[in-house]
């Protein structure tokens, strides 16, 4: 697209500032906050989405292939090489139990991503159900459910999650429930708003005057229409779910030790770090950060493409 604005007007070329003296500046001096061209911003956003997609693909490849080629659960230990710095045999070093960190961290990445996906799906289903119910039925049920949303949001999510996993300790199910129970509220809000806006559309009036039952309207007309929003929320929840699961596991409250998630691995490595073994945290941390950034970048890219006018509303 041809841009009528010449390139030079919005560069931060401070060299052209000419001080005439007496406190006067030339009119062409750079002003604070000169807006960046929209095309450049859009290009950068597209670039971020693309990079995130490629990165996520690479991470998924590592997570899927490496544990499968080596040992599936990353549990194989080499007692002759405990807490060794990176070497040709173990390119990312070994931890205090003699696990090869590359294999172990890849297995952890796989567990973390799988658990996060399950959690994001569970929260989305729960949130979409509550939101659709509140929006479609309305009235006192709507008010009650929205008060419930406010109440859940009033408790810090990690703390509520900790309470849930503490009382139902040490199982995969408890972690999934704890994340689903704390993260459904955003989805419920989004889906409710969508249902409320759909309720005033003519096709719903048409369906109702055509004699459709309430259940049929909900099933055939409302739910399919909120699917794109709900799917988007699921992707937006992914980085949060990864974060939450690793935080719980890091604290020793998350997944049981036979499922090495990135959080478990980082939690176990704390003592090794104090012994000066920095490499024990290096790769798991890097994978965790990259996975979070890639999923959130992908989600942001998809969000901008799907609903450009709702950016702020959907920002989780």
């Amino acid at each position: 697209m041809a841009d009528p604005v010449p390139e030079t007007t919005d560069t931060d070329n401070t060299d052209t500032d000419t001080d005439i003296g007496g406190g006067w500046h030339s009119a062409a001096r750079r002003r604070a906050g000169t807006p960046r061209r929209a095309a450049a911003a859009a290009g950068r956003a597209r670039l971020r989405g693309g990079v995130s997609l490629v990165l996520l693909g690479l991470l998924a490849l590592v997570a899927l292939l490496v544990p499968w080629l080596g040992d599936a659960a990353g549990q194989q230990v080499d007692y002759a090489a405990v807490l060794r710095p990176p070497s040709p045999a173990h390119p990312f070093g070994t931890d205090g139990s003699g696990h090869d960190l590359f294999v172990r961290a890849s297995a952890g990445l796989r567990v973390s991503l799988l658990v996060a996906t399950a959690c994001a799906l569970a929260s989305t289903v729960l949130g979409a159900a509550v939101g659709a119910l509140a929006g479609a039925v309305g009235g006192w049920l709507d008010r009650l459910l929205m008060r419930l949303v406010d109440t859940v949001n009033a408790v810090p999510h990690l703390l509520l999650g900790i309470v849930i996993v503490a009382l139902f300790r040490g199982s995969l199910g408890a972690v999934v429930v704890s994340i689903a129970a704390t993260h459904w509220t955003t989805v419920a809000r989004i889906v409710r708003a969508e249902v409320l806006s759909l309720r005033s559309r003519p096709f719903l009036d048409a369906a109702i005057s055509g004699g459709s039952s309430r259940a049929r309207v909900l099933r055939r007309h409302l739910l399919p229409a909120v699917v794109p929003q709900a799917a988007l929320s699921a992707v937006l929840l992914l980085p949060h779910a990864v974060w939450h699961e690793t935080a719980l596991s890091f604290l020793g409250l998350g997944l049981p030790p036979h499922l090495p998630s990135l959080g478990n691995i980082l939690g176990e490595s704390r003592r090794a770090v104090l012994l000066g073994a920095w490499w024990v945290v290096a790769l798991p941390s890097a994978l965790l950060v990259l996975a979070t950034l890639a999923t959130s970048g992908l989600a942001a890219g998809w969000r901008d493409r799907l609903v450009p006018r709702r950016r702020s509303e959907l920002a989780l």
Partner: protein
């Protein structure tokens, strides 16, 4: 209407806002207490096992039954809830089962340290946000803006515990500038100097981990404010650039910042839990983890209610501050 009556009306409106918020907080607290108690009630965990530990295997049944009766575990759920909630209302928070101390005493001993850490962390985050947010917006598109934006987006993906481990590895173990963890050196008294030295790293980690959202928010809202009419007007009057940015654009840009700060209390609590745990900081947030690992229900429930109170207080303070700062804001939130 004179200015005096206007401000008095404003004060009354703000008081009304506080009153309404406190009234709304009551059902929230009630619901959270019921919810937490219900979670405890359906939990498969039996407090008697905690009371006995491994001695449960050798204890005789009559003793176990007596302890059950003493702990009140044989009463109905409603009776148990009534006793617990009644205790909360009368200020008796119960006894921590893992620390073997009254919960109120645990809070009294640990809350000041958490407040110290959280306030220091928040100060770091706000300082970073103001300096880098304003700087980046001022020179939008420049190298500093690009670095700040990129680092900000990158840091959003770094969990506080990763940041904490990295900070320990680099600053405490690599460069040996600061102590690794704890409130004081081993065996030393909690003197201000000792505590300050041990506070630096946790407060920096907490502040930096909270800063990206704040920095990016200040940058964005300053950019929006710079495009507004009154800023154009200030420029048209030929005011100096720093006057335009700092005196005309920044005040309007910072109003939503107060709300954002209030809304970030949950993340601050979460960050405090992780940072206190990694740095062995003796605050209430680390007690959450300890209570959870030991399934210490009375302590866990009290800390959950405390965190809920902090969140509600944060949003209330933010709304009051906004209402006081901006006369256009209606107090009928």
């Amino acid at each position: 209407m004179s200015a005096g009556t206007a401000s008095r009306g404003r004060g009354r409106a703000v008081l009304g806002l506080v009153g309404r918020r406190l009234a709304l907080a009551v059902p929230v607290f009630g619901l959270v207490s019921v919810g937490v108690f219900a979670l405890g009630a359906i939990s498969p965990f039996d407090p008697v096992y905690q009371y006995y530990g491994s001695r449960i295997f050798t204890a005789d049944e009559a003793d176990v039954a007596r302890v059950r009766a003493e702990l009140g575990l044989d009463d109905g759920l409603l009776a148990q809830f009534g006793r617990w909630a009644g205790g909360l209302l009368s200020g008796d928070l119960g006894t921590s089962r893992s620390l073997r101390q009254p919960v109120a005493q645990v809070l009294a001993e640990r809350l000041p340290w958490t407040l110290l850490l959280v306030c220091a962390g928040l100060a770091v985050a706000v300082l970073l946000a103001l300096v880098f947010g304003v700087w980046a917006a001022w020179r939008q598109g420049g190298w500093l803006d690009r670095v700040v934006t990129a680092v900000g987006h990158g840091l959003e993906g770094v969990p506080p515990f990763v940041l904490a481990l990295g900070a320990i590895a680099v600053f405490a173990l690599g460069l040996r500038w600061l102590p690794v963890a704890g409130l004081t050196d081993a065996g030393a008294a909690a003197s201000p100097g000792q505590v300050a030295r041990h506070l630096v790293l946790p407060a920096l980690v907490l502040g930096v981990s909270q800063s990206p959202w704040l920095v990016l928010h200040v940058r964005q809202s300053l950019l929006t404010a710079l495009a507004e009419d009154h800023v154009t007007g200030a420029r048209a009057r030929g005011l100096a650039e720093h006057v335009v940015v700092l005196r005309h654009a920044l005040p309007t840009a910072l109003l939503p910042f107060v709300t954002v700060l209030g809304a970030r209390v949950p993340e601050l609590v979460t960050g405090a839990v992780l940072v206190e745990e990694v740095f062995s900081w003796p605050g209430v947030a680390a007690a959450v983890v300890r209570a959870a690992l030991a399934v210490d229900f009375p302590l866990l429930a009290a800390l959950t209610l405390l965190a809920t109170a902090a969140v509600l207080l944060g949003s209330l303070l933010a709304d009051v501050a906004t209402a006081l700062l901006d006369p256009r804001v209606a107090t009928d939130g």
